[in-house]
């Protein structure tokens, strides 16, 4: 790791941002393998807070060597020691102190994990204080304003060597058999939880992983905080969707929500249904959907499995937010639809089949081959096929014309093959319906061609008429000129040609004798 003493955001540091050149993209999607080459600078995501007097740590005796009477006291002292923070931006600063703290943290972790009877009441506030001091900090703004979680390396937490142990300690603490929620709830309160949730925005995935597990345990054990946690997560998501579109921890929070949704009691409370409709569905509109789509889809499907009546909301919501210009998202949406259809109840299916298959037909005719493929692949799913079969009369007319047209027009051979499969499947389902639709499709096509022909005829007629008119006008003008010139010269001869007001025929040429010298002939 390079060492620089520069604080993370200095005015001179340029923002290393460029967009992925199109050569590096395949099918319009940037290659995953492409990594930005940029200088790695040493960063910390926490500003080191200088403490007024830097406490010098002295190593304490080991916990495992301590006599039982002194154990708790020693434990407390070690906890207090660990409240001292160190500057990890500077690699060489205070190595001794860092090591003492690291060792102490390690011991504390071991102790909580293995021994029984360690967690007594007085330790709770000390432990929570130590944890709070270490983890609660303001996360700095991102080093890279165009951070793309799929492409870029995340900025890792510099003080991770200590932080990781603090998180580990917290987790073991929560999971210890001696853990008393009634005691902990005094210190792990709403304020604590709120700060915990804010940390989910950390760029360091390891930190988010710990936070996820920790919050999961907190939610499970501290019943009084559940409603508050749900409310705050709602807020985070709503802010994310409608205000900032930036939050790094959406996937982790969704994973926790997945396990909560899975445990919902029936009948489903209206609060939860509101959450589905007002938060989860609109979450699909986020630009960075690909990062958390798997977790989001899981949550959605869980809702359906709990209460089938939400199906209609879900599908109509997805159709409302269907991506219009982002094909990568369209493929994701199609994947989610397939998962939903996998668990849908037939009675619910009937309610949404029409708008759904209209959208599917639109996807089949998409020029992007991945979208068309994904939509056509639905017909390979046996359960979906059985649903289609039961409602063949409604569904086949919706997709029929599209299938036929695309089979003739699409550039991609794989798609054409898949369409054949789909058409053949329909044919086997109900051949009469298929034949009827084929016949009416042909009739429509004939009518269309006839209309086209008539239109072309009309235009041709108009053009011809225009041509003739032009001709007539030029003839008339010419004749007018002839007359004038003759008049000026005082020609006694009869005017050569009649006026051309009505004749379509080309004018008979004036007889050579009448035109005098050098008149320009027609």
């Amino acid at each position: 790791m390079e060492t620089t003493k520069l604080p993370p955001s200095s005015p001179s540091s340029p923002t290393t941002s460029f967009s992925v050149p199109s050569a590096e993209k395949v099918d319009g999607f940037p290659r995953r393998s492409m990594r930005r080459a940029r200088q790695r600078r040493s960063h910390s995501s926490s500003q080191f807070r200088y403490q007024s007097s830097q406490v010098e740590l002295t190593p304490l005796p080991l916990l495992k060597d301590a006599p039982v009477a002194e154990l708790h006291d020693l434990f407390c002292k070690k906890l207090q020691q660990c409240c001292v923070l160190f500057d990890f931006l500077d690699c060489v600063a205070d190595l001794k102190g860092k090591e003492i703290k690291r060792a102490a943290l390690n011991e504390l972790v071991e102790s909580v994990a293995t021994s029984r009877g360690v967690l007594i009441e007085p330790l709770y506030p000390e432990a929570i204080k130590m944890i709070s001091v270490n983890i609660f900090r303001t996360l700095p703004p991102s080093e890279n304003p165009e951070f793309d979680p799929e492409e870029d390396e995340p900025t890792l937490e510099a003080s991770w060597p200590h932080l990781q142990l603090v998180y580990e300690f917290f987790l073991r603490f929560l999971e210890s058999p001696d853990f008393q929620p009634s005691m902990a709830k005094r210190y792990v309160d709403q304020k604590f939880v709120l700060q915990l949730l804010e940390l989910f925005d950390s760029e360091d995935p390891r930190e988010r992983e710990y936070l996820k597990t920790i919050l999961h345990r907190v939610y499970g054990k501290l019943l009084g905080l559940r409603a508050y946690i749900r409310k705050q997560i709602n807020n985070i998501f709503l802010r994310f969707i409608y205000e900032t579109e930036h939050f790094n921890g959406v996937a982790e929070l969704l994973e926790i929500l997945g396990s909560i949704i899975n445990g919902f009691a029936l009948p489903l409370k209206s609060e939860h249904k509101q959450f589905l409709v007002r938060v989860l569905i609109p979450l699909h509109t986020a630009k960075s959907l690909s990062i958390f789509h798997a977790q989001l889809a899981y949550c959605v499907v869980q809702f359906m499995e709990k209460d089938a009546t939400v199906t209609e909301y879900i599908i109509r919501g997805l159709l409302k937010y269907w991506p219009k210009t982002c094909t990568q998202k369209e493929v994701m949406f199609l994947g989610e639809i397939e998962e939903i259809l996998d668990v849908i109840e037939p009675s619910q299916f009937i309610r949404i089949q029409e708008p759904l298959f209209k959208q599917i037909a639109a996807c089949i005719s998409s020029p992007h081959f991945q979208v068309a493929e994904r939509a056509l692949y639905f017909w390979n799913n046996e359960y979906i096929l059985s649903l289609i079969e039961e409602n063949c009369q409604v569904i086949l007319p919706l997709v029929f014309a599209t299938l036929y047209r695309v089979s003739k027009e699409h550039w991609n051979q794989t798609i054409v093959s898949l369409i054949y499969n789909v058409l053949k499947t329909f044919m086997e389902m109900n051949s009469k319906l298929f034949d009827d639709l084929t016949a009416s499709y042909k009739v429509e096509k004939q009518k269309e061609m006839k209309r086209e022909r008539e239109r072309a005829e009309l235009w041709r007629g108009l053009e011809e008429y225009q041509e003739r008119r032009m001709q007539m006008l030029t003839e008339a003008a010419r004749n007018q000129r002839n007359l004038q010139e003759r008049g000026e010269r005082g020609d006694t001869l009869t005017p050569s040609s009649p006026q051309t007001a009505h004749s379509d025929q080309p004018e008979p040429k004036p007889s050579g004798a009448s035109s005098g010298a050098g008149e320009s002939a027609t």
């Binding site: 999971e175 009084g224 994973e255 445990g263 919902f264 798997a294 096929l385 058409l423 009469k432």
Partner: protein, 335 residues
């Protein structure tokens, strides 16, 4: 409207009748050997079911490539004639049927509408090559004595339709579709095309309840000297077949026969969501709903049941450690 046929004795009618006669005389040359057909029906190797399935495939391909019904009917005729005279291995059936389709298309369709053989093979998901197909075509042509342009039931259907003189009401499209449905069953290949077509015509007339048209049917029957017994036999079978065809019930398609090939990118993303989540389920209790922190004191009796019955299965220890459960029980007793 009565006796339309008798009143309109003009050149057209005469011509049609003559053409009818000629075709009737010709049709016998294009009949598949009955013994051969019977053999197929009774055997297991290239069974009737195989042949019927293959004919359905041919219809799918016909429809997909926009070939006419004429092509299809001709292809089936060639196929049946060939199968009735040659015993082939089941693995060659694809190749034979596709050759027949291609041969029929060459006879009927315009050159610009002919699908190239490699495309035929690709869409038909067949395993043989273009040269295999060409060779098979030669074999079939030779065996059938180069008689590719056959007189089929469709020929008669068209003639009957013209004779009937009521093109608006009697839909040729519909009759063709019905003929196609019949041809998908090998049994109907044993019928003489003229008889089969007439049976179809009668079915439709009876369905339309058009008494006058029946006269035409009788007239044709008399003209061609078709025995009543024969006609009745096939009419019955046709009726049965058509009632199956027209039934609104959808049948379950045979899914396994088709290959579903997608591009590598799509295949990669297909099953990305089927992962089991790592976090264990947190069961909801009815005491969650209160906003207050001391909600666990507001215990309701029903909470206890849901608590113990809905414990999630996780290996990391229960979320409701024993002492907590005991605590709640105590409070319940005091409430």
């Amino acid at each position: 409207k009565q006796n339309l046929v008798y009143l309109h004795i003009d050149m057209d009618a005469f011509k049609l009748m003559k053409e009818l006669r000629v075709n009737y005389d010709q049709e016998v040359h294009y009949l598949p050997k009955v013994t051969g057909l019977v053999f197929i029906e009774s055997t297991v190797r290239i069974s009737a079911k195989c042949r019927d399935a293959k004919v359905e495939d041919l219809w799918s391909l016909t429809s997909f490539f926009g070939y006419s019904t004429q092509t299809f009917v001709l292809a089936v005729n060639l196929l049946d004639r060939f199968l009735a005279m040659m015993r082939i291995q089941p693995k060659h059936l694809s190749c034979v049927s596709l050759s027949c389709l291609h041969m029929a298309a060459k006879v009927t369709e315009e050159e610009c509408n002919l699908t190239p053989t490699d495309e035929l093979i690709r869409i038909g998901q067949c395993r043989f090559t273009v040269s295999d197909l060409a060779r098979m075509e030669k074999i079939v042509t030779e065996k059938l004595n180069f008689k590719s342009k056959a007189v089929t039931a469709l020929t008669f259907l068209h003639l009957y339709h013209e004779i009937a003189l009521s093109k608006e009401t009697l839909s040729l499209e519909k009759l063709e579709a019905q003929l196609k449905a019949c041809l998908c069953r090998i049994a109907f290949s044993k019928a003489k095309p003229s008889v089969l077509a007439l049976a179809l015509l009668r079915q439709e007339i009876e369905a339309l309840q058009w008494e006058d048209m029946l006269e035409v049917a009788y007239y044709i029957q008399a003209h061609l000297k078709i025995a009543n017994v024969e006609l009745m036999l096939w009419s019955e079978r046709v009726a049965q077949c058509l009632s199956d065809y027209a039934s609104p019930e959808c049948s379950k398609p045979n899914h396994r026969r088709l290959q579903w090939i997608v591009s590598r990118r799509t295949a990669q993303n297909l099953h990305s969501y089927r992962s089991v989540p790592e976090l264990p389920t947190i069961p909801e209790g009815c005491w969650d709903e209160s906003e207050s922190e001391d909600s666990c004191e507001d215990m309701m009796s029903s909470g206890e049941e849901s608590l113990s019955s809905s414990l999630g299965s996780d290996a990391e220890g229960s979320f409701f450690p024993p002492h907590l459960r005991r605590q709640k029980q105590r409070q319940y007793l005091f409430a």
